[in-house]
């Protein structure tokens, strides 16, 4: 005999859903009565919120601006400047020729005291390191270990040399490695440029193998940029590692090195630039940047301005709302504002 209780299971899934259902047990959850907080945008909250944001943001903005102000930055655009007068009309020929002298010496004045370390960046413009064809043209497996040296799936058109041997590091990114060099001197005294630890530690340790050595690099028909010393493992090729962190925007800086000493105001720095890198064929600009840093990074007026704008907007809104609330007050929760009370003759 079957107990009555399960006798209804005969129709489970059949047309008849379980009919004798148990009374739902009361719980705050099932009755949707969980204790809850019900925020409401009362005038006090609105005004306080805006005022609070204003009060927080304006100081942050001022702090950011002053931090940015303290950053000393020397930007020197040398792409046109470093080409001899007579070759200005054919920059590409100049840069592609192996015979021209590409050394370019200029003097920069330090506007303010620069406390070390002073970061040396090169800044390229109109160079789309974020272009789809470019970004994809690399092999992270090959960079990391010798065992995967032949993994060059995505590296075309710089995967192999014309005789089929593998290029290490392969791909367009590595191929187009930046190859201008800078050296600095103050009063004929050479300033040491520290090129160690310019790349991320994580990249050196995990992304670029210490057993991977450059091979067949820049041996193809077209030379894209710098050559690499085949006896140094990739994990120590920091310029390459920096370059391979592809930039997000078409105008970008990359760390070149650091000057560990302080530079005094009005000091004359002699910069010797080896202007090798071809940005002329696509009208790319090249800048040399010397910059100190602060807690917001390099020179950045935008953020401070943005904070000041948003902060003052909020203060303005706070005041505006106060005025509005005073001009047109409304009792919160007054039933007489309900549409059917305001307009009792309306459509019922």
């Amino acid at each position: 005999m079957n107990p009555r209780g399960d006798s209804t299971s005969g129709s489970d899934g059949a047309p008849e859903p379980r009919r004798k259902s148990k009374k739902p047990k009361y719980s705050r959850f099932t009755q949707q009565e969980l204790p809850a907080c019900k925020p409401l945008l009362t005038p006090a909250i609105v005004v306080t919120t805006f005022a609070f944001i204003g009060i927080i943001f304006i100081p942050i903005g001022l702090l950011s601006l002053s931090a940015s102000e303290q950053v000393v930055e020397i930007v020197y655009q040398y792409d046109t400047d470093c080409i001899p007068e007579q070759l200005q009309n054919d920059k590409v020929a100049f840069i592609q020729s192996s015979k021209t002298n590409k050394t370019c010496t200029r003097t920069l004045t330090v506007p303010k005291n620069m406390e070390g370390p002073v970061h040396i960046y090169y800044e390229l413009d109109n160079f789309y390191q974020n272009h789809r064809r470019y970004v994809k043209s690399r092999s992270d497996k090959q960079l990391r270990s010798k065992a995967s040296e032949t993994v060059t799936t995505n590296c075309a058109p710089e995967a192999t040399t014309s005789d089929g041997s593998v290029i290490v590091p392969c791909g367009l990114i590595a191929w187009s490695l930046f190859n201008d060099t800078y050296s600095f001197a103050v009063n004929s005294k050479i300033i040491e440029v520290n090129k160690k630890n310019i790349a991320w530690q994580s990249d050196k340790e995990h992304k670029f193998g210490s057993d991977v050595y450059p091979k067949n690099f820049q041996m193809g028909g077209l030379i894209g940029g710098a050559k690499l010393n085949a006896s140094i493992p990739l994990s120590e090729q920091e310029d390459l590692i920096v370059w391979m962190r592809t930039a997000a925007l078409p105008r970008f800086r990359k760390l070149y090195g650091r000057i560990e000493t302080n530079l005094a105001a009005n000091e004359q720095i002699t910069v010797t630039i080896q202007n090798n890198y071809n940005t002329y064929s696509f009208e790319g600009k090249k800048n040399l940047v010397l910059s100190t840093t602060s807690w917001i990074g390099g020179k950045n007026d935008f953020l401070g301005t943005a904070y000041l704008t948003v902060g003052s907007l909020c203060l303005f809104l706070a005041i505006g709302f106060i005025i509005l609330y005073l001009l047109k007050p409304r009792t919160l929760g007054d039933p007489s504002y309900l549409s059917w009370n305001r307009n009792p003759d309306g459509h019922y």
Partner: protein, 1174 residues
């Protein structure tokens, strides 16, 4: 003994035109046969089976209902080709050459093997998924590969996977219950001649099965024998059709006496079909002539055996062939209005998507054309490949092709503009909402122990936008529990029913006291008349009246034990509540129906036991609108008792007899129906010997006729029912359900128009209208009851001019009520007058339709549905409401007294009419609000992300790359931001239950589409563009001159957008409980963790980027600035509109907050307590 007469074959079917009968129309008048008409209108032929309730007929009944199978034209013998041959007790032979389905059942949709293909096939019915599949396919083309193959299919795979898991889990539960079911055991006759237990799934067609009391039947069986010597068995069919009363089934006399093991023979029965009220078969019993079998000889799987010690039957249909299984139908599938509107916006988004792609394509084309010559000089483009012997172009197909590729790449990149997770989110949200509706204790019906049922899972939000409610009356507004209230006997009105004897009338049988289960208040004067205190004529008339009530019915008395051994209760089981009420009334006046056997009934007439032979019974049918019974009295006379609707009865009474009485009865009837009572007229005639003989031979001929049996029987009935002497009339009260007037008032305040569609007569309908406060005394009533097109037209025009006059009168206008009857509707519906009716009806506040047929009910729903955008809801409990329930946007079935077709056809089912109030005003409002917000939010959320990608495209030479890592991109809409919106969609409440009930007017927000409309969509999209600009350009400007790498900036963007959209959601949450907190903040945390994990994979270019970024102050300052700058416009707008242009909902929220309405006792508020608004 009656059973031996061939004419008593219970399967002999009389006729009845089953379609398009207004159930309630005759229910109110001919209670005894109310159920006869409970037919599904022809429009819904398959999904709901026609209700044929011949089953509780006594053996001696002279006919049962024509089954559907007969209706299909198979009155003749079943053709051998269409028959199933069952050799009793010989399963081997039965199952040859073709083995019939075994008795295992499978309600599951899938098996392990078919799950994947079938489920995927079903899911890809959704166009959006096909779109995503095509895009994933396009992405695999090397030239178009924007994403890695794995990433491109992940989102689709994820949403398909979640759906599949959900479907799979549901199916697994079904599978489990199937398994339990299949492994139950039943007693099956083994070769040795004894019954042995056997598992259900192993039962074969042809096997003989024994079932004992209270057991569930394992398969469909033809009864061979029962413990009752006359072969009666009672079954409860609650699992089959939801009716709780007992049905009577019979074993054939030819097999009843045979011991089970020596049963043999051949049953030829029709092929399995889904009609649970039809069965057609014949049996060749050895040594007997061929006997025919009908629906009353079969007991169906799923029923329970009651009041019968055992039955033995032979399995004829097993497993999937059983009628219960053939009837399993899925829930109806409808699409909600919100979803329809949503699709409009999806198309807008698709247009926007194409526009974005075209912009990108054109710009990419222009760029390529301009730089065509220098492409090879660009280190980041490098058109040519020098690594081969011959210089080749590398992955470059010319400007034209590259431009075309740009288009497809941009579609792939921006594909999430169409929110992929929206569909699955909506499914999950509806599931959650359904859970809460089912669990709501305020919608649990204590009386029937039923909780709310959600049968359709895709129109929850429609409940918040209902404008019209079409309600059935009987069983929906009323309880459908009939109480005998008053009688008019011989033209004298006896309605002073007072509290009579407390325990009611009782009789003594063999020392035991038998008492009817329900006592009825008696009128002392009538009682006196019955007892003879008012003269012999009154005594005879009133005795005949109650004798008619006690005999002219199909009630089966069943004895119920009480704790007291000497006291037994008589429970009158029958299909018609009206009949039950009449029999209880007769019992109260001393005419106790004691026993019903095959050929006779036993009645205790004022203490004297009398046996009446039931010689014939004429079923109710819609043409005659009456039923009658021919009984042989103990004194040897043959009497015909008839009861039926007044207009049908007054047509067959003896014209020139008792004119005063007829007139007085008519007056009484009118006053009864004005009180809202259901009236019936009872009459009788004595048959002479000659008449009886003539009738009997005609009746026997008819019952044995093979063709046209029903028609013949109808003619015979009509011939017999004439020249009646009127005995009296009865008034039965159908009580209003609890809380109906309050519910109607609430709905009216909520701006919902309630239309009542009933089969009752006009007076009854109006009086019910008053008692449920649908009609009020200040209303102007417009009545349309015409018999011709012209007068209908005239009345409609009058009504129209009146309504416009009233509308012109301005604020003092009195509300209008339109009352229209079914006859007039015949001339109006589907003619050019329909338009005028629509005009008039929509200006009226209340519409009452009386005497309407089921299809007319649907027609009225269609009248509104086809002409307006307003949402319609139909609520009903009976088979006659099915067409209207299916027609309306939302169909609700009352799971009450009337069986389950209404529930089967409905989208939602519940126990009481008043649950409509919490369902619409509370859950409907919430569901609509939640779903509307969720859809808008999903659009917004995905669009923000797409716009961020879009802005970046301008800084990548249109090369369609995204700074955000591709894994973050694909996880964005399915993981990073999906859960909080689902949780909020399930849990958030703008207002408390109490407020919503206190101010029903708040419901109009849904009717006005306040939470989802094109304006809101456009506003949201503008907000979304601003936010995307803030998210994109603040970091862009801040990092313009820095050495930031792609991944670092991408990480900032993805974190910013996830935090911003979650804050946006947080700002719009009305009620913060711990689950909301956990989901929103948890989701942000989960995103951070995901980004960290992605950036910890050395294979990906973004390795360690997030850590480097987080180490700088600039990153955090950017994030904060983005969030504030992004949110300020929305926050300010929100504060401004909420304060200066507050919606009703907003004011109610403030009321809740400041008037402390929402004390901790919300849940204790009884539903019936509705506050009248101030």
């Amino acid at each position: 003994m009656a059973a031996n007469r061939p004419s008593l074959n219970p399967s002999a079917p009389p006729d009845d035109d089953p379609d398009v009968l207004p159930k309630a129309a005759f229910r109110s008048r001919s209670s005894s046969s109310r159920h006869r008409a409970e037919r599904i209108p022809s429009s819904s032929s398959n999904s709901a089976v026609a209700f044929e309730r011949s089953t509780s007929k006594p053996v001696a009944s002279y006919g049962s209902k024509r089954s559907d199978s007969e209706k299909l034209g198979s009155q003749r013998e079943i053709n051998d080709d269409d028959a199933r041959f069952v050799y009793v007790n010989d399963p081997e032979r039965t199952n040859q050459p073709i083995k019939f389905a075994d008795n295992s059942i499978r309600t599951t949709k899938y098996s392990v093997l078919t799950f994947l293909p079938r489920n995927l096939f079903e899911q890809f019915h959704r166009v959006a998924y096909v779109y995503f599949l095509i895009l994933a396919g396009l992405n695999q083309v090397p030239q178009l590969g924007v994403l890695t193959p794995a990433a491109s299919i992940l989102p689709l795979a994820f949403v398909l996977g979640v759906s599949a898991v959900k479907d799979g889990y549901e199916d697994w539960r079904r599978h489990r219950s199937d398994r339990d079911e299949n492994n139950r055991t039943a007693q099956v006759l083994a070769p040795g001649g004894e019954f042995r237990p056997k598992r259900w799934k192993d039962i074969l067609v042809g096997e003989v099965v024994k079932v004992t009391a209270d057991e569930t039947l394992p398969c469909d069986m033809v009864l061979l024998a029962t413990s009752d010597p006359t072969g009666v068995a009672y079954v409860q069919t609650i699992n089959l059709d939801g009716e709780s009363n007992l049905k009577t089934r019979y074993a054939k006399q030819e097999t009843q006496s045979t011991p089970p093991e020596s049963n043999a023979g051949l049953i030829r029965c029709e092929k399995p079909n889904r009609n649970i009220y039809g069965f057609l078969a014949s049996a060749d019993v050895p040594g007997e002539k061929r006997v025919s079998l009908g629906p009353s000889n079969i007991i169906l799987r799923g029923c329970e055996l009651k009041n019968t010690r055992w039955v033995v039957g032979v399995a004829v249909y097993t497993g999937q062939d059983t009628k219960v299984m053939l009837n399993s139908s899925g829930a109806p599938s409808k699409r909600s209005r919100l979803e329809a509107h949503m699709n409009r916006e999806v198309i807008l988004l698709a247009v926007a998507l194409v526009a974005l792609c075209v912009i990108v394509t054109v710009l990419a084309g222009v760029w390529l054309a301009n730089h065509h010559d220098e492409l090879n000089d660009l280190p980041y483009y490098r058109k040519e490949d020098y690594s081969k012997r011959e210089t080749d172009t590398y992955n470059y197909y010319g400007v034209g092709w590259e431009t075309v590729f740009s288009f497809f790449k941009s579609v792939i990149l921006f594909q999430v503009m169409i929110p992929i997770a929206l569909y699955i989110s909506m499914e999950l949200v509806r599931l959650g909402q359904a859970f809460f509706m089912i669990k709501d204790k305020n919608m649990f019906d204590e009386a029937s122990k039923t909780s709310f049922q959600c049968r359709a899972l895709n129109i929850n939000e429609d409940l918040g936008q209902i404008k019209y409610v079409f309600s059935d009356k009987t069983g929906t507004l009323t309880e459908n529990k009939m109480e005998f209230r008053c009688a008019s006997v011989g033209g004298v009105d006896y309605s002073a029913a007072s509290d009579g004897e407390e325990d009611g009338h009782s009789i003594t049988v063999d020392g035991e006291t038998w008492r009817p289960k329900m006592s009825v208040k008696t009128d002392p004067e009538l009682m006196n008349a019955v007892m003879g205190g008012e003269g012999i004529e009154k005594a005879n008339r009133s005795r005949d009246f109650f004798l008619a009530l006690a005999t002219c019915n199909t009630i089966v008395p069943i004895l119920v034990d009480t704790p007291e051994p000497s006291l037994k209760l008589i429970d009158y089981q029958g299909e018609s509540p009206d009949e039950q009420a009449l029999v209880y009334a007769a019992a109260a006046y001393g005419f106790v129906l004691m026993q019903r056997t095959s050929g006779h009934i036993l009645i205790d007439v004022l203490g004297e036991r009398q046996r009446y032979d039931v010689l014939g019974l004429h079923e109710f049918d819609s043409d005659r609108k009456r039923m009658s019974v021919i009984v042989g009295s103990p004194d040897g006379t043959v009497k015909l008792f008839v009861k039926g609707a007044d207009n049908s009865m007054f047509g067959v009474i003896q014209k020139n007899l008792d004119l005063d009485i007829v007139h007085a009865t008519k007056t009484n009837l009118h006053s009864y129906s004005s009180l809202g009572l259901r009236t019936l007229v009872v009459g009788m005639r004595e048959l002479s010997e000659h008449e009886f003989k003539k009738w009997q031979s005609a009746y026997e001929n008819a019952t044995t006729a093979l063709i046209g049996r029903g028609k013949l029987l109808k003619t015979i009935a009509s011939n017999a029912e004439r020249d009646l002497r009127i005995l009296g009339a009865s008034g039965i009260e159908d009580k209003l359900q609890q809380g109906v007037p309050e519910a109607i008032e609430s709905m009216r305040q909520a701006g919902i128009k309630v239309w009542v569609l009933t089969g009752d007569k006009q007076e009854t309908a109006i009086s019910i209208g008053y008692s449920c406060k649908l009609l009020t005394s200040e209303m102007t009533q417009v009545v349309i009851n015409s018999n011709s097109r012209e007068s209908c037209k005239r009345k409609l025009q009058d009504a129209a001019s009146m309504s416009s006059r009233l509308a012109g009168a301005g604020s003092a206008k009195s509300p209008l009520a339109l009352i229209i009857d079914g006859t007039s509707l015949v001339y109006i519906l589907e003619t050019e007058l329909e338009e005028e009716l629509f005009e008039v009806a929509t200006t009226c506040d209340v519409v009452l339709c009386c005497r309407v047929a089921p299809l007319q009910k649907a027609g009225i729903v269609a009248l509104i549905k086809n002409r307006t955008d307003d949402m319609t809801l139909a609520i009903g409990d009976g088979a006659n409401d099915v067409s209207m329930i299916q027609m309306a946007d939302v169909g609700i079935g009352i799971s009450g007294q009337e069986g389950r077709q209404a529930v089967m056809a409905s989208d939602f089912a519940m126990g009481q009419f008043r649950f409509l109030v919490p369902l619409l005003l509370v859950h409907g409002h919430w569901n609509y609000q939640r779903m509307a917000y969720m859809i808008l939010y999903n659009f917004y959320r995905n669009a923000v992300f797409v716009f961020i990608l879009f802005w970046y495209v301008f800084y990548t030479e249109y090369s369609l790359i995204s700074a955000v890592s591709e894994w973050s991109s694909v996880l964005y809409s399915v993981i990073y931001t999906a859960l909080p919106t689902i949780i909020v969609g399930i849990l958030d409440k703008d207002l408390s239950r109490k407020t919503l009930l206190k101010y029903p007017q708040l419901y109009r927000a849904g009717q006005r589409d306040e939470r989802y409309n094109l304006k809101l969509f456009i506003f949201t999209m503008m907000d979304c563009i601003w936010q995307s600009i803030a998210i994109f350009y603040i970091p862009y400007l801040a990092y313009r001159h820095s050495d930031v790498d792609v991944s670092g900036l991408g990480d900032l963007w993805i974190l910013a957008v996830v935090i911003l959209v979650n804050i946006h959601l947080a700002m719009d949450v009305f009620r913060w409980n711990w689950i909301t907190h956990a989901s929103i903040w948890g989701c942000i945390a989960a995103t951070v963790i995901c980004v960290i994990i992605i950036d910890s994979i050395w294979m990906l270019p973004g390795y360690w980027a997030i850590f480097t970024m987080m180490g700088t102050g600039l990153f955090w300052l950017c994030l904060l600035d983005i969030i504030v700058a992004g949110m300020v416009p929305r926050f300010a707008t929100k504060a401004l509109t909420e304060y200066f242009w507050p919606s009703d909902v907003q004011i109610a929220r403030e009321l809740e907050k400041f008037q402390n309405l929402n004390a901790s006792t919300i849940s204790e508020i009884p539903l019936s307590t509705f506050f009248s608004h101030p």
